[in-house]
Symmetry: C2
């Protein structure tokens, strides 16, 4: 019995969108799904009950951060990440690769892995596919990601190609060393924005027959249209019966466009990060609630939203909290943004079920881009 | 019909402790009561539902802070502080006096009030009894406090005496100008640590027949024993049928000693402030959960506590959150500390009802001072 199983329940008639169900050791996930990010074993500002309450089915935690602090051994001793953080639903952990390449200093890459210095205290560490699998097994996530090399954008063809080759070699090692039967490992497809290299990576990684596939190295600075065309092209090279996870993507338009191109899973810090900066997503577009314009605005953030925040608090109050550096302000905007995105995903699933995705999309954009906030 | 009414339900046989009931426009409060502090229209880190959930019957908000930000007019336009912050239970507002004397700069005191500069932006403001009443009427608290002068500790006899005289004059003005019938005004007794001046202040303020009395200017640096002896002495000078509120006091020992000397109401930032610094109060004394000693300690903060935090999280996890600057850490310690203090008050009320306060006290201290954490 594999750790996770995936079933495509329905395909949208007009687009590549899929409605699916992903079974994991800690519960079943309806896809397409957005995964809130709990980098340091907490979705910033929220309790697990609140995260579930806004509609999250699965969260993502970051292997790099948890390896450095508090350390994988402490989480293993706590009985794994679910126990440690009091979250009973599924967890996906990333491989650590992306953070090592983007956050850590003074790295040296070899075929065995990466030597890097902690962004916290400058201490030196080594992580490769073997170490990443060991850490993720200690964390005990439902889905672990294979250790990959994510090249920067822009990068030369040679760099992208080297990244693809290394990612394929590391993917094999991950499968060889991985032991936990209650944890799935997903492969990651790299290849930058070069269609030929994307196809090569897809061929090599899917040949290893992972139970799911991450699409890495996108949404790293390239134009959105380029990302969409890569996704479109990739569709033909990914097995129909395995979940496809577009890593690090989470704006409403990218979620919709990703779903239309066959993506089943997403994660992103965007909704929680912009919330803490005082920006919220509403039916009628983004609203910077910190702005002075809202000092006497006693309407909810989004008049069409029924989240906890919008049911009980005004823009004026939330602005006051943010201006006064009060933590409740960060909590209220975070709750709203996650609820907004997770409800969007719920409505997308309904639209696929009703063969109605294109009409839903037109309606969503008409309001979201209206600026009538 | 007065805005608030107070009934002494029972007196403890062996001490001066009183069990009482305080009715206010937003609900009835069982006394002795501890009031969590919501300085800026929020009990730091918590939602109103959480504040009620840990057992709070009434909260305190700070007139000085809210006058400066967001401004009393915005809160009045929002329909008052209860509406603005989504708290349906009683609220007490302080007069602003204490904060003006402790936080603001460059103040000039006259018989009409105080000119001060905002600690936020240096802007110049004036507040006296007339202004304080107007602001508190805009806030719409259930209980407003008369504008008083709180002298520093130590202070000369002349300074303390001048403070007593001014506080009495201002108290009269407060009663004259106050209009709201759904809001009570409590007088404040000053007099530093000079028994004769305390008695004079008590005589002058109680002569004005307020529905309740604050005891101000204590817990400002003087030895605890001095505070206790002032409280003991004051008992004979305060009317039996009015609530007595010891301002700014909130450590477990001071709560117990205050109750034994006839105090009915308390407030303090202590439990919430030390929580955010990583210190929690437990049955067996204080615990600095930030300490490295707790990195692998998978027990709850207090093994005898059944608060949300202690039911679901370990010391190791909470320490991790605090070290990683995660807001959830501040939330969990705050919830625990408030629950601990509010449960202590609940047990004190039960002990008074059972004529059992001294036995309860002995038992509490035996554990609290044991250091067996």
């Amino acid at each position: 019995m594999p750790a996770v199983t995936f079933t495509v329940l329905k395909r949208d008639r007009a687009t590549g969108a899929r409605l699916g169900r992903l079974k994991t050791p800690h519960g079943t996930i309806e896809t397409p799904v957005f995964m809130p990010v709990g980098t340091q074993a907490t979705v910033k500002t929220m309790t697990p009950e609140e995260v579930a309450g806004v509609g999250a089915q699965i969260i993502l935690a970051n292997t790099y951060h948890l390896y450095l602090r508090p350390g994988a051994d402490i989480i293993r001793e706590a009985g794994g990440l679910h126990n440690f953080m009091h979250w009973e639903k599924p967890i996906l952990t990333d491989s650590g690769g992306f953070q090592i390449f983007s956050l850590a200093d003074l790295r040296e890459i070899s075929d065995a892995g990466v030597t890097f210095r902690s962004h916290l205290d400058g201490s030196t560490h080594f992580m490769g596919p073997v170490e990443s699998m060991a850490v993720q097994e200690s964390l005990g996530s439902d889905i672990a990601m294979a250790f990959d090399e994510c090249v920067a954008y822009p990068a030369s063809r040679e760099e992208v190609e080297a990244g693809v080759e290394r990612t394929s070699r590391w993917a094999e090692i991950c499968l060889e060393v991985h032991r936990r039967e209650d944890q799935a490992v997903f492969g990651i497809i790299q290849g930058g924005v070069i269609p030929e290299l994307r196809r090569r990576s897809a061929r090599e990684i899917t040949a290893l027959d992972f139970p799911g596939y991450g699409i890495g190295g996108l949404s790293v600075g390239e134009p959105k249209e380029l990302m969409y065309s890569i996704l479109e092209d990739l569709q033909g090279y990914l097995p129909e019966n395995k979940p496809r996870y577009l890593m690090g993507v989470g704006s409403p338009d990218c979620l919709i466009e990703g779903v239309k191109r066959g993506v089943d899973m997403f994660d992103c810090v965007l909704p929680t990060r912009i919330a803490r900066n005082g920006t919220v997503m509403t039916t009628y577009g983004k609203l910077v609630v910190r702005n002075a314009a809202y000092a006497r605005d006693f309407r909810p953030l989004d008049p069409e939203c029924d989240c906890y925040t919008c049911r009980h608090y005004s823009r004026a109050y939330i602005r006051h909290l943010l201006k006064a550096d009060e933590i409740l302000g960060l909590r209220l905007t975070t709750i709203h943004n996650l609820y907004f995105l997770l409800k969007l995903m719920h409505r997308i699933r309904q639209a696929i079920a009703n063969n109605d995705l294109e009409a839903f999309e037109a309606d969503f954009y008409a309001k979201y881009n209206s600026g009538k906030i």
